[in-house]
Symmetry: C2
Subunit: 366 residues, 2 copies
């Protein structure tokens, strides 16, 4: 197993000192920034996430800020999701596509006010796309990456821990809503959201200097809750069907292929880039789509696509996979052609260690 070579280019986060003190064992790189992948072991982290509470350094969810009179117009250009009903204080999951309907990112947008938005991005330099559009259309908007670093608190004890640090009012935040909460005199957006199905919050930490004080405050307040440093967990996120841009879908795929057609109101999202292509896709339907897939037997780590075969012919590919302790199978995410995407279809998957049996599932595990 190769080590990760660190450099300024792999940006540290406001919480890196805490992550290292907690004994991080693995990293990935996400938006040119370090993202922890394992602390104890992926399996031990998984059990703990489901039973207690974890603090996650997800500063790599960088923000693209839109500010100015044309901010709302630009935001609607970026996504086929209809934003007309969105209110300040709401978070929307917004597929972002290019002119052909190919996905460029799948971020969460936060509407701070009519003329100020944050886009909390997945792993691509969406800033450059947004700046290019704003420049090309001569929009009256500032586009930049502010000094905002999300810190997630996830797990069944998340409400209790957050209430101890931010007050009981955090318990009232509804799913995919955010409010403004004070930490040591700094007002920060706190949303009920996060990249797990265990419940919890994301704190949009304002100012690098406030990162470690908040980190310490959370660990201090949560000692009796067995709070630990954690990170997005490969097994848990596959069980829950949480997609990973760059893994499960890329610029090659439309939102409809990624199973995100329900977020595309292409008829009414007037002005969005890629509208023509997506109207066609919505009419015809996708010819392949993401599915939950179980795989039998032992499998290696999934570091590349694995072909899905029916009678030796390729009908799709696996893009993420891991052994699930709770479900007694290998849980996986794959893209499958419509000819073979029905529930309970049995296929072969070609792993680097040989062929395994795979079964298409209608639903994810939770």
């Amino acid at each position: 197993m190769a080590i990760i070579a660190q450099s300024r280019r792999m940006r540290r986060t406001p919480f890196s000192d805490g992550v290292e003190a907690a004994g991080v064992k693995g990293y990935t790189v996400y938006n040119h920034m370090l993202l922890p992948t394992v602390f104890d072991s992926v399996v031990a982290d998984y059990h703990h996430l489901k039973s207690a509470v974890q603090v996650w350094d997800v500063a790599c969810e960088r923000q693209v800020e839109l500010r100015g009179p044309d901010a709302a117009r630009l935001m609607q250009m970026l996504t086929p999701r209809d934003l007309r009903g969105m209110l300040p204080g709401q978070c929307y999951y917004v597929p972002i596509v290019d002119e052909t309907g190919g996905m460029l990112n799948d971020p969460v947008a936060l509407k701070l006010s009519e003329d100020r938005w944050w886009i909390s991005i997945a792993d691509s330099d969406l800033l450059l796309w947004v700046k290019g559009l704003a420049y090309g259309y001569r929009l009256d908007v500032l586009v930049d990456e502010p000094d905002i670093s999300p810190l997630a608190v996830q797990g069944p004890q998340a409400d209790e821990l957050m209430a101890r640090v931010f007050g009981d009012a955090v318990r009232n935040i509804r799913f995919f809503r955010f409010g403004w909460f004070d930490f040591q005199g700094v007002s920060m957006a706190v949303a009920r959201s996060g990249y797990s199905k265990q419940g919890g919050f994301e704190i949009y930490v304002d100012g690098t200097a406030n990162g470690m004080p908040l980190w310490h405050a959370l660990f201090e307040a949560g000692k009796d809750l067995d709070v630990r440093a954690g990170c997005p967990n490969l097994i848990e996120r596959i069980e829950g069907g949480l997609l990973s841009y760059g893994n499960d879908m890329t610029r090659e795929n439309t939102p409809h292929e990624a199973g995100l057609g329900r977020f595309c109101s292409t008829q009414t999202a007037i002005g969005c880039v890629g509208r023509d292509a997506l109207l066609r896709v919505a009419k015809d339907g996708p010819t392949q789509q993401i599915r939950a897939i179980s795989i039998a037997g032992d499998i290696p780590p999934c570091d590349r696509t694995w072909p899905l075969l029916a009678n030796g012919k390729k009908v799709g590919q696996i893009t993420s996979a891991a052994k699930s302790p709770d479900y007694g199978t290998n849980v996986a995410i794959g893209m499958v052609k419509m000819t073979h995407w029905d529930d309970a279809t049995v296929l072969d998957v070609e792993t680097p260690d040989g062929l395994r049996s795979a079964t298409v599932n209608e639903k994810f595990w939770i």
Copy 2:
């Protein structure tokens, strides 16, 4: 030292199988792709690079291809370098800036023909910027990432090795020129270029399937030349003053700050984005600039910026540093304010291990 977590998102390259068989020990991530950083040790790799020949997997230098009637117009929009005199078969190092003159990338552009260009990019999703501009300006051009993966052959024996595989005509390729050469029936662009000062070539390998056959052919042909798998070497590239986007300069910096003012013909590069800002910068001159810096004593790996101090006041920062066996000092790259950028200025540098003495140098080491 943390391991790197592999996933499809950290894309493997056409040469990854060869890199692994050669015993790669460290990786970084560059354009969402694996880039080796060490094979034997950074010091052993360094000595070998300077004395023999290495084959480098630099597939992470992804290509942005511009194709169509507006390709040349778009290319000139992207850079303040005047491209009017550029001929097919030439490579140009082209700073790319946003509307404020902030650097977005520092790639090498290859002109294939008037209506077809490749931009061999440093570590940012330049594709999104280029696509955004092309869309906003409604240009008649296709912008995409083709299946082209650079493989570098670097070191004093590079000419000999390349001649054995591609024929003696490769010896005649001039610096920053490229020609078309056949490998097993596939025509590939071969340029005299690369991210070292030891001389050599970059082969723009056309087609993933052709990667390992070429890799094997080079190693087979170079046995008696002690050819080894290598990678951009941290020490050697600092000695040679080869900048690294994301390390030594970012979107915060202008080309002039990065010492790249000589590549900006802003007066004549009509139509380039950022022209107004850069005309101002060219008139006033930058207030800080990149310098070669020697640092005394022992230093840790440079994984973040280190402040440069004069009488306790910050006057710049170190962005890359490594101990040089050949020059008997720590070689470094830093950004220094004009008040302290003169040759032989002595400063303090604040490393995580404590203060060290630093000296500003007029020139890099080779």
